[in-house]
């Protein structure tokens, strides 16, 4: 039986208002390190989520056993009798949410991954570097049905490469990184990204120190994506806005960053599934338009409280998203500033500063109302003088407000890169390289 039929059957037999959501994942991971394919993995997982509502009392039961679904409905029904009411809950999705779609994931065999990893290891070996990274292929099937008639399913997949070239296998010397996220394994730009990693590792040998203090910085898209993901967590979900801790709290309609900056949830241009955890169709949302705070991300209940329609942002409860609301396709549009053909062109516009390829361990909880963040550079940090990269430098720490950094940005690449979200399943970030002015460096 396919997943959608199973969802329908279970909801039809349920005594109370019921929603059944099932996701089946197959992930093939060729993880390599020390120039060896050290962790090949084949992960076959199923997650089913049953919600039962009695009025506004809603309880959720999660199981990995599809044979246990009817019992799960029973347990959720019992829980719903004592569960607290969810403010704004007006029932599960209705019969207007019906669709079936699928996209082919391409070749996902272990041998195909192994072959590509072997080529990467051999290439990096020839340069005298150690290699690490992962090629992952994933396919997933998703289905949801409700007793109000919603019935949606989708099948999809993606492939991702992350590669490091390392002077020292444990990263104690120079390192370079490359990455690429696409829908099918055969689309991965393995050679291009491997060469980029090798080039950065070569250029990064023998780093010197760089003084702390205000500094102009060009960041590659992978670095910008990490900052945007944090902003997405602390600023955009409706629960954060309601708690008063978001930079958007009480500031809708006001300018919160530079007038050239727009931040959108753009699911139609990403690898995101076409509907969210509650069967709501994902749609494009202006979160910040020309620097102005526009609207938060919502699920059905939080949207009801705001007397608006859900933005289709409900996700299964996940790390740092206890509210179950998150962007899965955030993008930055730098408007008229997005004209550079490459990050090299952005570097050309620096008199003195840094070129940062990647960030590590960013944290955005310092002062969420200001979107104050800190983090370290990683895998390539270079001093820039008179528009040219002149030498590698040791990793630096920055501590600054990301919204204020965006306001001070004065250059972006026209082309954006798709980067995998670290925290939301299937989520992506679509970002340009950016040039920031006067970022505060605070290294010890």
């Amino acid at each position: 039986m396919n997943l959608l039929d199973l969802c329908r059957d279970v909801t039809k037999a349920a005594p109370e208002e019921t929603e059944v959501w099932i996701r089946r994942d197959r992930r093939g991971c060729a993880r390599f390190s020390l120039s060896e394919l050290s962790q090949p993995m084949d992960l076959d997982t199923i997650e089913a989520r049953v919600r039962v509502a009695r009025g506004r009392r809603v309880a959720e039961v999660v199981t990995t056993d599809l044979d246990d679904l009817r019992n799960a409905v029973g347990r959720a029904t019992a829980l719903a009798k004592v569960a607290p009411e969810i403010e704004g809950f007006e029932g599960f999705a209705g019969a207007d949410a019906v669709s079936t779609s699928s996209r082919s994931p391409g070749d996902i065999s272990a041998d195909a991954r192994t072959e590509k990893v072997a080529a990467i290891i051999a290439r990096i070996d020839r340069e005298g570097f150690a290699s690490a990274g992962m090629i992952e292929t994933e396919t997933h099937a998703l289905a949801i049905a409700t007793s109000r008639g919603a019935a949606r399913s989708h099948e999809d997949g993606s492939a991702e490469l992350r590669v490091w070239a390392l002077e020292d296998a444990a990263g104690r010397g120079a390192s370079g990184h490359g990455s690429h996220l696409v829908r099918q394994l055969q689309e991965l730009a393995v050679e291009r990204e491997t060469e980029a990693a090798i080039r950065a590792a070569k250029d990064g040998k023998g780093p010197g120190r760089f003084e702390s203090g205000p500094c102009d910085i060009v960041m590659e898209p992978v670095a910008v994506a990490e900052l945007l993901e944090w902003l997405g967590t602390i600023a955009f979900p409706a629960p954060e806005v309601e708690a008063g801790t978001s930079a958007m709290s009480n500031r809708f309609g006001q300018s919160i960053t530079g007038a050239h900056i727009s931040i959108r949830e753009s699911p139609l241009d990403s690898l995101a599934d076409p509907f969210d955890r509650e069967a709501t169709t994902r749609r494009a949302i202006d979160l910040i338009r020309n620097g102005i705070a526009m609207e938060p991300l919502t699920d059905r209940a939080s949207a009801q409280k705001r007397r608006s329609a859900s933005t289709g942002s409900a996700i299964p409860t996940a790390l740092f998203s206890p509210g179950g609301i998150a962007g899965v396709a955030l993008s930055i549009d730098a408007g008229a500033h997005a004209t550079a053909k490459s990050s090299d062109e952005l570097v050309n516009g620096l008199d003195r500063g840094l070129y940062v390829r990647r960030l590590h361990y960013v944290n955005g909880f310092l002062d969420p109302q200001r979107a104050m963040m800190t983090g370290m550079s990683r895998d390539g940090c270079f001093a820039v003088e008179r528009g040219r990269v002149v030498r590698p430098v040791k990793n630096v720490r920055f501590t600054d407000s990301f919204l204020e950094m965006l306001a001070r940005s004065d250059g972006a690449t026209a082309e954006r890169s798709l980067v995998r979200s670290s925290w939301t399943t299937g989520g992506t970030l679509d970002v340009p390289a950016l040039r920031f002015r006067n970022v505060l460096l605070t290294s010890s």
Binding site: R27, A30, R31, S33, L34, S35, E36, L37, S38, Q39, P40, M41, D42, L43, D44, I46, A59, E60, V61, V62, T63, T64, D65, L79, V82, P84, E85, E87, A110, T114, A118, A132, R162, W164, L166, A169, A170, G171, R172, A243, G244, T245, K305, L319, H360, Y361, N363, G364, F365, L366, D367, M372, T374, M376, R378, N395, R397, T399, T442, S444
Partner: protein
């Protein structure tokens, strides 16, 4: 299907195999109370399945399945074998595992009250009372959660391990958010920051927290922070309360001593380590006061067990002794590379993940004296409590933490409450500056519930015991 059957099937097909069954039930109660409404939630989850790791001609293969019928398990085993064969064809190095004695037995968490036996209404009411008590004055919202988990594990290997374990884990925390007229917010948490509140034990551990009894202090401190000055900046003496010391140990001692990171096998997510094998036995990690131990037998710690996920029995292993770095957190494979035995730290977050070197309960030994003695002995400094943000570089050297609140100490007294305190440093220099650690009466075993490692990411609860400690001439400031 009995796990021994699939192990017997695997035995002639590989050099080593381990088959791990897990069945985890979790119940979560979350109360979110605001002045203008409620948004509480309850959920129940069950995840069970089998993970199979095999060692082929040269290297590993890992596969998992949530289906427990014989055909699915055999198909899963075959997938693990195929992966190991595919990887071994391109491998250069052969993974070696040392021989070991067979392990058989069982482990069970000691609990007084099974949280699953407490009616859900009672658990909701338990959290509801402090939430209502907090919502006064300028407290805009209060959030509390109580999670309970029961995890059954069985591990059977081709070299004679057959062990069963039943764990009871929990986590409980409350947070108050105060808002002033201008919309500025400050928050306070108890018993400490959310994310450091995990434990192994029963409902009695939740009751012992006395959340209701702490609401008045929590509320008044959150409100006072709205009007408090920012933390002073400069190089000052720093006193950390015990949960912040626990996080400091976690980030700057626990992670760098993981031998897989040291070798470079965690580059794709977590990063490496400034330590290397040559530093063992000679590297000065900190002052003579600093003794750190990996302890997987400490009662009540999230990192306590009978055996790790490759069947190594629990034990106590010094990592830093009187300031000198002496050993790593390790697995059978990684320890063998440096000619040592595993310190028994391999754990996986579920059946669907491969075991990794993980912290157990990595704890800083207590010293002498009370917190009040330590404050009285400090001329000018800042006492910081409850973490707010955390960040450290990929080699675990350059760190920065900010906390919920601080007290500026002048001439041995708490002079004034300060908000948004922040400190930073470099790992060995910071630990070298440790000149006082409070005594056993101030020591507490904390639990970090969501330590992230691995690729795909695994979240794991790990324990850290610590007492308040003082560090001299640390760069402090405001977030």
């Amino acid at each position: 299907m009995d796990l021994r059957e699939i192990v017997e099937w695997l035995k002639p097909r590989c050099r080593y195999a381990e088959v791990r069954y897990t069945d985890e039930n979790v119940e979560t109660v979350r109360v979110r109370a605001r002045r203008d409404g409620r948004n509480d939630a309850v959920s129940q989850s069950r995840a069970r399945g089998i993970g199979i790791r095999v060692l082929g001609e040269k290297t590993w293969g890992f596969a998992c399945t949530p289906r427990l019928d014989a055909d699915s398990i055999e198909e899963c085993a075959q997938r693990a074998l195929d992966l190991a064969a595919s990887a071994s064809r391109v491998g250069k190095r052969t993974v070696m595992l040392p021989e070991r004695a067979p392990q058989k037995g069982s482990y069970r968490t000691k609990i007084e009250t099974d949280p699953f036996s407490i009616p859900l209404e009672e658990r909701i009411a338990f959290l509801d009372a402090p939430a209502r008590a907090l919502l006064k004055g300028r407290i805009h919202s209060a959030e509390l959660h109580a999670d309970a988990s029961r995890l059954e594990k069985r591990l059977v290997t081709t070299d004679g391990v057959d062990v069963e374990q039943i764990f009871h884990f929990g986590a409980c925390n409350m947070q108050a958010i105060a808002v002033d007229d201008a919309g500025n917010t400050e928050s306070r948490t108890a018993p400490t920051w959310s994310g450091c509140d995990a434990f192994q034990g029963g409902w009695e551990r939740v009751v012992a927290l006395d959340l209701l009894g702490q609401t008045e202090q929590l509320r008044s401190e959150a409100e006072a922070l709205l009007d408090a000055p920012y933390c002073p900046e400069g190089e000052l003496d720093l006193i950390l309360e015990s949960s912040q010391v626990a996080l400091q140990v976690h980030e700057s001692c626990g992670h760098p001593t993981e031998l897989d990171r040291v070798f470079g096998t965690e580059i794709t997510l977590a990063g490496g380590s400034f330590l290397d094998a040559e530093k063992r036995g000679s590297f000065r990690y900190g002052s003579d006061l600093v003794t750190i131990t990996a302890d997987s037998v400490a009662e009540g710690g999230p990192g306590t067990f009978g055996w790790d996920d490759e069947g190594t029995p629990a034990g106590t292993h010094p990592l830093v002794e009187r300031g000198t770095f002496v050993d790593f957190l390790s697995s059978r494979e990684t320890a063998a590379v440096i000619g040592r035995s595993s310190t028994g730290t391999m754990r996986a977050s579920g059946f669907d993940r491969v075991p990794l070197v993980r912290m157990t309960n990595v704890s800083l030994a207590p010293g002498r004296g009370s917190l009040e003695d330590l404050i009285a002995d400090t001329k000018h400094g800042v006492y910081m409590l409850n973490d707010r943000s955390w960040s450290i570089d990929d080699q675990r050297l350059d760190f920065q933490f900010s906390c919920e609140l601080g007290w500026e100490i002048v001439n041995g007294k708490r002079a004034r409450l300060v908000k948004r305190p922040l400190y930073g440093g470099s790992t060995p220099k910071f630990w070298a500056s440790c000149d006082a650690i409070c005594g056993p009466e101030e020591y507490r075993l904390w639990g970090i519930s969501s330590c992230g490692k691995g690729d795909p990411m695994q979240l794991m609860a790990v324990g850290h015991g610590a007492a308040p400690a003082r560090f001299r001439d640390v760069k402090v400031g405001r977030a």
